[in-house]
Structures are given as C-alpha cells and as structure tokens.
C-alpha cells in the first residue's frame, strides 16, 4: 500500500512538470526574455540594425526633459479624469435601473453591451465620422437644440475629452454588467431589514449598495486606468495624435519612436517609465480604496 501510494506520488511529480512544460517555454520566451531585455535596452541606443550602443542613463535624462513624453502623460490623465467618473456614474445608474423591475431587461443589457464586442478600429472609424465638425450626425442633433457646432476632434482642448467619451460609450456595457453582477449578489433581506428600520432609498444606497459593490468599483477603476494608459488605436485612427499632440498617448509615442524614428532604446525607456507609473498608480488606488472600504 505504502509503496503504491509512493509510486503514484512520484508519478505526479513528473506529470506536473510535463503538463507545465508549455508554460515554461512560453514564459521563458515571451515574458522572461523581453523583461530582462527591456532592462538592457533602456541603457542603449539601437536602430535594430547594427550593434547596440551603450549610452548609460542618457535615455532616462532625455525622457525627463522630453516635452512630448510629459504631454502624453498629461493627455492620459485628462482621459482618465473624464473617462473614469463618467464611466462609473453612468454604469452604476444603468445597472441600478436594470436591477429593478423593468420589462425587456435582457434586450437593454444586450444593447449596452454591443459596442464592447466590436473592434476598437471599427468603433473609432464610426465615431470619427460622427464627430465630424461640419457634417457629423452628433452636431446635426445638437444643432436642433441650438448647440454648436462643436469642434469635437479638431480642437486641441476638445479632442482628448471626445476620445474619452467615445471610449466610455464603447466600454460602458462591460461595466454595467460587472456592477449588475455585484448588485445581484446583495442579499435581499438586507434591504428588507432596512425597510423595517425605516431607512430611506438614499440611506439604503449608501449603507447597503455602495459597500457591497466596492470590490467591483475597484475592478472598474483599475481596468479604466489601465485602459487610459493603453490608448493607441483610438488616437491613431481618429487624430493621429493631433491636433497639436493633444491626443498623443504613451503607447502611440512608443510606436512613433520605435517605428518612425527607429529608436528602440528610447522607445523601450518610454515603455519602462509608463509601466512604472501604471504600477504606482494602481498600487495607490488599491491601497486607498481598500483602506476606504474598512
């Protein structure tokens, strides 16, 4: 008996590593190697042909004084500051409505979710036309109520907010579904008990609903923030980063440095700095929100 179970155990040892072998290969090639090589690249100048040229910390010094890099960070912050509050508030309201007794819930949910599944390229091509200053249907509608024409993507101060609104339209269905799942997880007896205690709707919302969906809120906040730092195809298609670099994003700037100017070392340094900023922001958000939740 003993020797038999011992045999099975030793069999398991081999089987475990056999089954994980694809991951060992995948991890080595596509995660570990790029990760290590990124630490090499940031200290070099390299056009991808020819040898790497050691430049010490000069990529970082250049980055620190690069107005376009800081412009990209600022643009990302503008995006996040508009996108996140809009996304969270509208998604939460929609989820709350869909969680009440309303006919055709499934159809509404499906409608809000539709843009989530469609490619960002298609959505951006569509919105590029919707946002057209002189001919777009958005300004046509606003004209009826006496507003506009608004230079949605042709004016530097409007362009990034317009992209943030478009991204909200594209992603909100996902967040409605997440909030809805959170709301449906709240036991109904909590509300019944609150009713007996004579709590108002607003009180119930802040004392029962909000604490219960706090984990979802953290997920939404983190995903939206990551989305802001990952912006690429939207500004690429709609404005090419303009006007006056007002929609230049971090990833678009990496792409430009790497494939327009063939500066692999500098492009990798931008990626490195962005990753550091992303991880810092997310750690702060988590700390702050988990602290709030206590």
């Amino acid at each position: 008996m003993n020797s038999k179970s011992g045999k099975i155990r030793s069999g398991k040892i081999n089987a475990g590593h056999t089954l994980v072998t694809p991951y060992y290969i995948f991890f080595t090639l596509f995660i570990a190697y790029p990760l290590i090589f990124s630490f090499v690249l940031v200290f070099h100048r390299w056009s991808i042909i020819g040898p790497l040229e050691w430049v010490g910390l000069s990529n970082f010094f250049e980055l620190g004084g690069d107005p376009l890099f800081w412009k990209a960070i600022l643009n990302t912050l503008i995006f996040i500051l508009i996108h996140v509050p809009l996304q969270v508030s509208v998604a939460l309201v929609l989820a709350a409505i869909l969680n009440s007794k309303i006919p055709a819930k499934g159809a509404f949910r499906a409608a809000f979710f539709l843009p989530v599944v469609v490619s960002g390229v298609a959505v951006t091509i569509l919105w590029k036309q919707i946002y057209s200053t002189n001919l777009g249907i958005l300004n046509q509608v606003l004209h009826l109520i006496g507003i506009g024409p608004i230079p949605w993507v042709t004016d530097p101060s409007w362009a990034m907010p317009s992209i943030a609104m478009m991204a909200t339209w594209k992603n909100i269905g996902l967040y409605v579904v997440l909030f809805l799942a959170g709301l449906q997880g709240i036991p109904k007896h909590l509300y019944d008990a609150a009713d007996i205690d004579g709590a108002t709707t607003v009180q119930k919302f802040f004392h029962i609903t909000v604490p219960a969906i706090n984990p979802v809120f953290i997920v939404v906040l983190i995903l939206s923030t990551l989305g802001g730092f990952s912006l690429f195809i939207e500004p690429y298609v709609i404005t090419g980063g303009g006007p006056m670099n007002s929609t230049l994003s971090g990833v678009l700037y990496i792409y430009r440095q790497a494939f327009s100017f063939f500066r692999m070392g500098y492009a990798a340094t931008i990626g490195f700095a962005l990753a550091a900023i992303i991880m810092t922001v997310i750690i702060i958000q988590r700390r702050f929100l988990e602290h709030e939740a206590d």
């Binding site: 089987a15 089954l19 694809p22 790029p34 990124s38 159809a107 091509i125 919707i130 777009g136 490195f272």
Partner: protein, 274 residues
Amino acid sequence: MRKSRINSILLLFLLTILAVMFIYPFIWMVGGTLKPEAEVMEFSPFGSQWSLDSYRSMLGKIPLFRALINSLVVSVISTFSVLVLSSMTGYALGRLHFRGRNLIFNIILFTMVLPFQLTLIPLYVLMVKFGWVDSYAALIFPYTMSAFAILLFRQYFMQVPQDLMDAARLDGLGEFGILFRIFWPLSKPALITVGIIHFMGIWNEALWPMIVVRKVSMMTMPQMVALYVVGGQAEAQVGTQLAAATLMSIPIIVVYLVLQRHFIESMASSGIKG
C-alpha cells in the same frame, strides 16, 4: 402604487433613449455603406437609392478577404492553443503536487500585473531575431497561453471532486486522459469563458499586428482597415471607410448575437475574478 408605475415608465423611457444612443450609430454606419457617397453623412440611415459602390470601391483597393482569412487563422489557432495549453497548466497547478508549484503560481500572478508597455519593444526585437516578422508565427505564438486563462482553469478544476480523479486513475487514465476526458467535459463554462474572452481580444487586436506585420498579405482585419482609413488609400470616401468597418464587425457581431448570454456572463465573471 401609481407613483411607482409612473417611475417605471419614466425609467423605461430613459433606458430606451440610452439604448437608441448605443444602437443607432451602428444602424447609421451600415446604412451609410448602402447609400450613394454624397448622402453618407446625412442623419437618416436610408439614402435616395441603394448602392453597393462603397463596398466595390473598398474591396477593389484592399484585399480584405485575405485579411479575413488571416484573422480567422490567427484567432482560431490562438484560442484553441490557449484552451489546451492553459488548461494543462491550470490542471497541474490545481490538482497535482510537484516541486515548485507555488513558485509557478506566484510567477503567473505576477505576470498578470505586468504592464504590456514594458515588454512591447523587447518582444518585437525577439520576433525580429527569430525572423518571424510578417508571419503567422509572430501573430500567434505570443498569444498561445494566457495567465488569466491558467488562473481561471486552476480555480475551476479545484472544485472537481477528488473521487472522480481517483476513479479515472483506477481505470488506467493518465493525467492527459483525466484532464481532457474527465475535467474538460465538466468545465464547459470555464472553457466558454476563456474561449470567448480570448477570441474577442485577439480578433479585435490592432497594436501587435501593426508592430510585427508590414506585408499587406499578412495583415489581419483591424490592421488592414486601420491603415486603409489612415493611410490615404480611402481617399476621404467615408462610405468606403464605413464599409470596411462594417465588414470587419459583422463576424464578431454574429457570434455575439448567437452566444449573447455566454458573452455577457463570461465578461461578468472575468471581472469579478480578475
């Protein structure tokens, strides 16, 4: 009673307006592709006459059918690979005992929070070194496994009763047999979730193809369509741009309409677990 009735009618009205804001742009887009070019920007989705000129003109300029084949090849192989390989790792991590298991689990957790911006350029350099630029290899291999899928499978497999495994072992099944013949049939929701999320992600992915592909014949649909619109080939003909966007969207919308409930449930569960 009456007050709540008025409330729900108001809510329904509000929801309907919002739903129109989400659906109408797509109707306008498809309508625009079927109108004469001069009428594309008008608000109504219907033109004075039907016209397929936008599709003809666009398909005459870019080999979109070729891009559709590329997108299908890349998305199907990659999704299949993620299901098979990630479930293997998830099974080993969840159900087998072997040295280093916890270390691997922690590494996978760590890779989930690693921003892609960090490895984007070094990964491109690797593709250049392997001579994979302009090939399916570059489009598929970096997407053959996913940390999210491994963790989801691990969690799901941990709930399968031990008795089933023991019985399968007594029947002489090896670990691969247990995984694919016992665990897979019991884990359809996890397989569907991973399959949908991964397929959707890679079908719509534009950045990575734009980095590793230059040759038109190797482009997937998002890349080819984005370059068509941005690169000047579309010559400011809005109808042809919308036609390209429409053709690119139809396959995924059809899949969505068929599997709608699964799409929404998958995304809901992914968010909670992620």
